[in-house]
Amino acid sequence: MVKPTAIRFKDTQIELAHGSGGKASRRLVEGLIAPILGNPALDDAALLSLGSASLAFTADSFVVKPLRFPGGSIGELAVNGTVNDLAVSGARPVALLSTLILEAGLSVQVLQAELEALQQAAQRAGVQVVGGDTKVVEHGKADGLFISTSGIGLVDARVKLAAASVRPGDQVLLSGPIGDHGITILLARGELDLEASLESDTRSVWPLVEALIEAAAPGLRWMRDPTRGGVATALNELARDARLALKLYEERIPIRNEVRGACEILGLDPLHIANEGQFIAIVAPEYAEAALAAVQGVAGGREARLVGEVVETPAGVVYTVSGYGSSRVVDMLVGDPLPRIC
């Protein structure tokens, strides 16, 4: 895919913001990594044609802290994150490789629990872990356990996903409530004196995507899982690549009260908060209702909503409109979401 504007990477050192999934991450990838690797089309998942088959190939690394959190753990994330990258490429996940980076001193009990979580998540997602690698680093050089997984999936032949095929009038489908994972992790770190009965949304979205493909494949234009950087960042990337605008109806965006409450208190925007088990799909208008019904008909998809539409102007911009007629631009995440004091 040809990016509209070349980005120059002028930063002199790597900071946490370069990994936060927002603007700095994008600058790093497009301004430094992609030019050096000589491939402007670097993406979360690569599509490979092998004979008559089309494969999606992806990799992801997991460095979450704490390792276990309400609703999931690093082992489970390591599977779901990668199978979801495949799923949103329109590919049925087939096999995974997993690389474990273990810090000397890690309890074997913890490792065992995470391997079991990884195995169970793989079973649920219908993929097999077929290999991998294990390294041990000195104490203090890693945060207990890092897991990196790569995955391969078979792309459904009916699906052609690209930002360039998105058209004004297309509808934005969101698979469920946003921000659960990011806020759960923030609270699980125990640095905030806030409590909420929230769980991470980590799961494989393939069953939902599969139903979506069955119902609306010809009208399916683009998909993405809004992980770090949240819905705002994923949609900003689409708006920029497609040179179109995205109009979201604020009231239609599903957000749990606990997430809204935590965001209100911390001064964060739920649209910037990370998700793990959700996806956004852009669907041609004539398929939108069928697509929504299909996703809602699958277990875990009941809260899916059509939350907005693609419009022509202002090109490159994501904005929301409120129930009382005002609007605001929603930018990509800058750095990590930092709580405000006031």
Partner: protein, 371 residues
């Protein structure tokens, strides 16, 4: 969500906006300053400007603690952090504020021990856990956050924690408002009074604005309906030729403030003879330092603090924006050299800052093509 949704009800918001349009006399131009950065943020976040008539102009005030902090103080704090004994702690708001040496986040990436905390009490806990280190809390904020710093200092003294200090940059809102009212550029008709600050100081301290300057003040909450109702109250006063202090945020703000919080502040802090504000210059009796009895917990007394003065980048026009003379996009650097990701001026740093709020919520459409 209870206590929030009620204040975001589209029907009530429409009704309030209609009332504002009805009250705004087409023969007049109303210039109203929201003093508090939290209000600026709400106005943009909820798109309230879209609902207002053209002759009602909202002017963004100096009430963002990060925005009014001069760069020299940031550098002083970062220099403290370079002492390997020191763990510098700060609120999230401070982490992206640029000093000459870079931002706290950049310094952290270079290995300097700077940690983000959510309250000064967390910094105190960190000191307890690290008895061999010196934990310094980079305190910022108006009367909103000063009481929590004060309570933390009371506790540090009571518990005799020796390795905890506060680098106080707390400022007072009233002298800043007076500086704006005395400015030769002053063209304001009234003020939306800060909500959070007023939960501490109450409404009484604003009475001088009405009495001496004949300008109305309405202390306001932060939800869309709060702000719109406050504007209705201000327009009514202006149309009737009244200048009074009114309290829209009665559900939270007591007229006489929070006596316990004020007492804690009085116990710990005293006024500095003068303090530099970014954009507003030196204002006397406008900031808080620790009383001599708290010298063992005062970073400025315990460590060498250079007290550097750094002039703002020449082209940045933060001062004019803070005083309401310029709108954010009228600054020469806005959206070009100065963006939320690489802020030059402080108003672009905190999401409370007028420029960042404007950039994030309104302006980007025009910039995207050249992003």
């Amino acid at each position: 969500m209870k206590y929030v949704d009620e204040f975001r009800d589209p029907k009530l918001i429409e009704k309030a906006a209609e009332e504002i349009r009805r009250l705004a006399d087409p023969k007049r131009h109303y210039r109203i300053m929201e003093v508090c950065g939290g209000h600026t943020h709400s106005i943009y976040r909820f798109g309230l400007q879209d609902l207002l008539p053209e002759n009602l102009e909202l002017v963004h005030g100096p009430g963002c603690p990060v925005c009014v902090l001069p760069m020299g103080r940031v550098d002083d704090g970062l220099r403290l952090a370079q002492n390997p004994q020191v763990i510098l702690t700060a609120f999230g708001d401070m982490m992206r504020v640029p000093g000459q040496m870079g931002t706290p986040l950049e310094m952290k990436a270079r290995g300097v021990d700077i940690r983000m905390v959510y309250s000064p009490l967390d910094a105190l806990k960190l000191a307890e856990k690290n008895p061999a280190r010196e934990v310094v809390f980079f305190a910022i904020g108006f009367e909103t956050t000063a009481p929590s710093t004060a309570l933390t200092l009371l506790r540090a003294k009571k518990m005799g924690i020796p390795n905890f200090t506060v680098f106080s940059n707390h400022v007072n809102i009233i002298p800043a408002m007076r500086a704006i009212l005395d400015s030769p550029d002053m063209r304001l008709d009234g003020f939306v009074g800060p909500g959070h600050v007023s939960t501490v100081i109450g409404c009484r301290p604003y009475e001088f604005v009405a009495r001496e300057y004949s300008r109305p003040v309405v202390v306001s909450g932060f939800e869309p309906l709060d702000l719109l109702q406050s504007l209705v109250m201000l327009l009514r006063q202006l149309n009737e030729g009244r200048a009074e202090v009114e309290n829209q945020y009665e559900r939270v703000v007591p007229w006489d403030g929070n006596q316990a919080a004020l007492a804690a502040m009085a116990e710990v802090f005293e006024l500095r003879p003068f303090f530099e504000w970014r954009g507003l210059g030196f204002i006397s009796q406008s900031a808080l330092k620790l009383r001599p009895e708290y010298a063992p917990w005062d970073a400025e007394a315990r460590f060498e603090v250079a007290g550097v003065r750094v002039t703002d980048p020449k082209a940045a026009q933060c001062g004019e924006v803070l005083k309401g003379v310029l709108k954010p996009p009228q600054c020469k650097l806005f959206g070009k050299e100065c963006t939320p990701e690489k802020p030059v001026g402080a108003l672009m740093v905190s999401s409370e800052g007028a420029c960042a709020a404007y950039y994030n919520y309104v302006h980007r459409a025009e910039l995207v093509s050249g992003d």
